[in-house]
Amino acid sequence: MKNKVYSSFDEAVAGIPDGATIMFPGFGPPGIPRNLIAALIRQGAKDLIGICNNHGALGNLMDVGRLIETERVVKWVCAFTAAPHPSRKLAFEGLYEEGKIEAELVPQGTLAERIRAGGAGIGAFYTPTGVGTEVAEGKEHREIDGRMHILEYPLKADYALIRARRADKMGNLQYRLSQRNFNPLMAQAATTTIVEVEEDILEPGQIDPDQVHTPCIFVDRMVRIPPAPEGIWDAPTRT
């Protein structure tokens, strides 16, 4: 059996090259691969293309906002290129307005479906989402069953950085509650998937096959998150 368990986050992200396309899950605090993002910042890869629902959050926890602040990113594919309220503006917006970072603004469901298509070998799909809006500009339109749709293409990545609650040594994963969000989709759409795991990594067979959320075949490397302060954990942030 191939060994997928790595002893440190630095080791797990060591090979990520400049220019890599990377998927980052997370929706609100749960499910963000904070330790892997921190390791990626330490590692120093630049000119990265990111695929992520948002571009970071307010507060002092490690997330993709830190990666963007350190100017490692050339392009960001996301559902928010501006914060809902100007008071919540992050570094990304400044960089984007100055043209220092390129962005593709994608409706969240289209983003999720494009990632799914990337992992599922679907060449492209028609969706009604975005018809009549700026998002549809320049896209192919088609009326299907009396309703207008636009054509959207899959998203794949070189790497996905993932966070799971539980794993076995083969790489089968379980998420807890809304931690799941984009994690299973991104694990499937990336060539190499690296996971930070919240609990001790189990022996194969200790996770019920009916209750696996990400099958082991999508997982390449895993690191157990150490206790704080060495490990970075979610915490309520009310800044």
Partner: protein, 221 residues
């Protein structure tokens, strides 16, 4: 009598009164989340969130947050009895696939043809679409809750949106600080009016011609 606009909870209560037993409802970021404070009595409403939570309950009490569970506004919520979790693509399959009975969203502008704008403000390069475009085309009913006018006193109910639209011809009902409106093929119909306001008051603050039905009633929620 002083003219008091409706408060946000009353506005959201009024939309929540529209929800029927067994409905699956998605509440947008901000004001719409107040709909979940309404007392639904015997009606069972299932609240869906973009991040794949099907069945969440009230906000978690301070200090009792479950760090693995937030709603679409990133608020720590509780899980409802009989909830289910799916991933993000399955969550939007629910939305886009027509399995939501209603969504309640905030907006900057709503047009009399049912267009609305809520993701991008004037002159800004970036926008925040989030799940709004999917919710708008997917939900069977699209309800909007918003202030009747901007801070500058400009109307938000318009003939046509000025801002980039989130979706075209989808809004069915709007509640504002001045009352409840239905989007009809002929335009905005004022269904219920805030106490102490006259139809002339409301028309004066509206950027489209209102239809005033004979059975107009006072807003009560």
């Amino acid at each position: 009598m002083e003219k008091t606009p409706l408060d946000r909870q009353a506005m959201c209560n009024r939309l929540a009164m529209e929800f029927q037993d067994g409905w699956v409802v998605n509440l947008g970021i901000g004001m719409p989340t107040l709909c979940s404070n309404y007392d639904f009595g015997d009606k069972q409403i299932i609240f869906h969130s973009e991040n794949g939570v099907i069945g969440y309950g009230p906000l978690a009490a301070e200090g009792e947050e479950d760090l693995h569970l937030v709603n679409a506004s990133s608020q720590y919520v509780t899980i409802a009895t009989g909830a289910a979790i799916v991933h993000h693509a399955d969550s939007f399959a629910i939305i886009r696939g027509g399995h939501l009975d209603a969504t309640v969203l905030g907006a900057y502008e709503v047009a009399e043809n049912g267009d609305f704008a809520n993701y991008k403000t004037a002159g800004r390069k970036g926008g925040g679409i989030g799940g709004a475009m999917d919710l708008a085309v997917g939900a069977k009913q699209v309800f909007i809750a918003m202030e009747h006018s901007t801070r500058e006193g400009e109307p938000r109910l318009l003939q046509r949106c000025n801002l980039p639209v989130t979706a075209v011809s989808v809004v069915t009902k709007v509640v504002t600080t001045l009352g409840l409106f239905e989007v009809t093929p002929e335009g905005f119909k004022l269904m219920e009016i805030a106490p102490s306001f006259t139809t002339d008051d409301v028309q004066a603050q509206t950027g489209a011609t209102l239809i005033i039905p004979d059975n107009l009633v006072e807003f009560n929620a």
